[in-house]
């Protein structure tokens, strides 16, 4: 008994004790479900009737146009969130970081506020603002600009616009805070020497801030890819259910939900999930190799 205690308290064993929760959680809530989802993807699962059907689910996926549309939607959404939610927050943060802006605390809190609201609340709010009645907020704005009322949530482009607006509204503040904290890590002496050299604000941004913010950008990029590919609730709330006209708001996870939970086709849904897994890992690994993260890890 005593020796066990001694072993547990030894410097060699301690790290393993510390990481034990992660190992357990990894085994039980990651590896195990991952294996069962792989297994299920080769099955047809009905109450009381489980059958092995080989690759049938995957073959069906190849022909399933709705699934292809879901992939396309998820990619479009992810792409635009990357375009809109990385450069702009970065620039905002750089402006905010200077001495020019007054009442910084207030603005930081304001910009962060949307991230604190639940998607249920935000989605409902935007759904009602994008309602197709002439009296809804967005239609009032376009009418004020001299256009006719728009059926926002019925069109392919306007629907995506609404989704992206929700994303920008919710995440600009968060990403800006990430960048702000990244900027705090930049040594002040760098700015000072740049000032002595007479560098303009823009040059400072280009030659100091941009390169030194690379770690932050990698981090933001990684989580944005994840969030973009896994988006579902936003679309679920914006269309008050998982059914958007012409599937304009259907995402991969939305399709997984539709097949697995709404239609109870667990096997097929598992195949959908695994395709998503492959896509997510592929993109992120490419991204990380490209950014040289793994090289750093090995050192």
């Amino acid at each position: 008994m005593k020796s066990l205690k001694k072993v547990l308290y030894s410097q060699k064993a301690a790290p393993y004790v510390f990481v034990l929760p992660f190992l357990l959680s990894f085994m039980f809530f990651w590896i195990y479900p991952l294996f069962s989802t792989v297994k299920m993807s080769f099955q047809s699962i009905l109450p009381g009737q489980v059958e092995w059907i080989g690759l049938e689910n995957y073959q069906k996926l190849l022909k399933d146009r709705v699934f292809h549309l879901a992939i396309k939607n998820s990619f479009t959404y992810m792409f635009w969130t990357l375009v809109l939610l990385i450069p702009f927050p970065m620039i905002y943060a750089c402006i905010m970081d200077g001495k020019l802006v007054k009442a910084k605390g207030l603005f930081k809190a304001l910009l962060y506020l949307p991230a604190l609201t639940s998607v249920v609340v935000a989605g409902t709010m935007f759904r009602l603002m994008f309602a197709e009645m002439e009296t809804s907020q967005m239609n009032q704005i376009v009418q004020w600009l001299g256009f006719g009322p728009i059926k926002w949530l019925k069109g392919k482009y306007t629907g995506m616009f609404a989704l992206l607006l929700v994303a920008c509204w919710r995440w600009t503040g968060v990403n800006m805070l990430y960048y702000l904290s990244g900027l705090k890590n930049i040594d002040n002496s760098l700015y000072e020497s740049a000032e002595i050299d007479g560098a303009s604000g823009f040059k400072k941004f280009l030659y100091i801030q941009l390169p030194l913010l690379k770690p932050t950008t990698i981090y933001v990029l990684t989580i944005s890819i994840y969030a973009g590919l896994a988006m579902f609730l936003e679309s679920f709330m914006l269309w008050n259910g998982n059914a958007s006209p012409n599937n304009i708001g259907l995402t991969i996870v939305g399709y997984l939900y539709r097949r697995g939970i709404e239609k109870n086709q667990l096997g097929y849904a598992s195949a959908v999930g695994l395709v998503l897994l492959a896509i997510a890992l592929f993109i992120n690994i490419i991204q990380l190799i490209w950014n040289g993260t793994f090289k750093k890890e090995e050192r």
Binding site: I45, L46, P47, G48, Q49, K60, K63, D64, R65, V66, G105, A131, E132, M133, K151, K154, G241, N242, A243, S244, P245, N246, N247, I261, E262, K263, N264, L266
Partner: protein, 470 residues
């Protein structure tokens, strides 16, 4: 400093709300025993709530004596559980030796069906009794059905009930769901608008007549008012068309077959209306939505086809329009065609996981299929009951104090009795959820909003549907 003050304030608000929550809970605890005594208060509440949306929150109520057999029931419309509660009190009165206590839980529509599916899959966690909406029903008929077969319990009432309504909740001759209503589709006409533009709705017999009337309305109002709105998110119009031609978009084998003449005729006609400015696309996709109610309330459209159960929506959302709406049979393409089709419905099932499945089955067939039960269905829910004897019971049909009869220009039962033998049936099978999805999400939108070619859209959807299992 200010920030600290503000956050302090917010924390106080939070604490206060916590206390409010605790106080709330006591309230609820105090209330339950009251309901448990099975008093008559439930009746009054039920009727009040029909006109009052504020009772929609997720609600749990327990009804029946503590000594009774305990059961659990899920519904997705709170009004339904109030109806069951009333029937339960009646049951307990009539069967003192077999008393039941049921805990009712109202879930949101999607969640309830998803939860039941998953409970069936898991083999645990399902309630004894559960309402299932008809379009979701096929999802539950896959694999080994996890519900108690009801045939032997239905037999007692079988002769009085429209057979088609029992059939739609059955698989291989075994009945699994107790039906609530027929859902006969009728045309609702706004008589105020039609009179203003010189249209007599009783003379509209065919879709050609209907189109003529639509022209009158459009001309008379300078295009401000439309005859109707066509749906991009609902298949009701297509069901009417299929029933009129006697077609069905699933074959006897259950395969999808959506390239039908009836559907093409209906879509072409509707597209013509849109092109000529005689109709609009339903805001939000169909009529049974907030946007749809608003559209009706604003007097934008003069008519629309919908099943009889839509009557309760008028009372809930458009009480100010009482005395303006009339109910009539649907127009037809060719005279002599049947003029209605049953749409919608709720089948109540008994789970095999229930420890008292037989008692539950006995109760639910009593509640939904007995004569008393059908009277209550009409009174509380305003549905066209599956026991058609109710339709001709003068005590019921001429009761002008009834809120539904009082609301409409003509007596709803007159319209119902006129079409009694013409109510078509469209099969609902495993492929149906996928077919509705194709129409509601893709085909109708592309045809009406994006000007797509009807034949081509149907063909593409048919191809996609053939990928599904059926």
């Amino acid at each position: 400093m200010k920030k600290k003050l503000l956050s302090m304030l917010l924390c106080i608000v939070m604490l206060a709300s916590l206390f409010a929550a605790c106080g709330k809970k006591d309230d609820a605890d105090n209330k339950e025993p009251g309901t448990q005594q099975g008093n008559d208060e439930g009746t009054d509440e039920g009727n009040d709530d029909a006109g009052d949306e504020e009772g929609e929150a997720t609600a749990i109520t327990t009804v029946g004596p503590d000594s009774g057999t305990k059961m659990e029931m899920w519904t997705f419309v709170e009004l339904h559980s109030q109806f069951y509660a009333e029937m339960l009190n009646l049951w307990n009165e009539q069967n003192p030796d077999k008393q039941i206590q049921i805990t009712f839980t109202t879930y949101p529509y999607g969640d309830m069906h998803n939860k039941l599916l998953m409970s069936n899959q898991a083999g645990t966690g399902a309630p004894d009794l559960c309402d299932i909406e008809i379009s979701q029903f096929p999802n539950f008929m896959q694999g080994e059905v996890q519900f108690r077969e009801l045939n032997e319990f239905v037999d007692k009432y079988r002769d009085d009930i429209v057979p088609a309504r029992l059939e739609i909740y059955s698989k291989d001759g075994k009945e699994y769901g107790a039906p609530t209503h027929v859902g006969a589709t009728v045309m609702f006409y706004n008589t105020e608008i039609l009179e203003k533009y010189g249209v007599d709705y009783t003379t509209i017999k065919t879709w050609d007549d209907y189109t003529e009337a639509a022209k009158k309305v459009a001309e008379g109002s300078n295009g401000e008012v439309y005859m109707t709105s066509v749906d991009t998110g609902g298949t009701d119009w297509l069901w009417v068309a299929m029933a009129e031609y006697g077609e069905d978009y699933t074959t006897d084998e259950g395969a999808p077959n959506i390239e039908l003449q009836s559907i093409k005729n209906m879509l072409n006609m509707q597209k013509g209306w849109l092109d000529e400015g005689l109709a609009i696309v339903s805001p939000g996709g169909h009529v049974d939505l907030e946007e749809g109610f608003a559209n009706l309330g604003d007097g934008k459209i003069a008519s629309f086809p919908k099943a009889m159960w839509f009557m309760s929506r008028f009372l809930n959302y458009l009480p100010e329009m009482a005395g303006k709406w009339a109910i009539a049979p649907c127009p037809v393409f060719e005279e002599g065609q049947p003029r209605s089709v049953g749409i919608g419905g709720t089948g109540t099932v008994v789970s095999l996981q229930s420890k008292n499945a037989d008692l539950a089955a006995e109760f639910i067939t009593f509640a939904k299929l007995s004569y008393e039960g059908n009277v209550k269905i009409w009174e509380v829910l305003g549905f066209d009951t599956c026991n058609t004897e109710i339709w001709s019971d003068p005590e019921i049909t001429s009761d002008t104090s009834n809120q539904y009869i009082a609301y409409f220009v003509n007596n709803p039962f007159d319209a119902l009795n006129e079409i009694k033998d013409e109510i078509g049936v469209i099969k609902v099978g495993k492929i149906n959820p996928a077919i509705s999805e194709q129409f509601n999400l893709t085909i109708l939108n592309n045809v009406f909003e994006n000007g797509a070619d009807i034949d081509e859209e149907l063909k593409m959807a048919q191809e996609q549907l053939e990928l599904e299992d059926y």
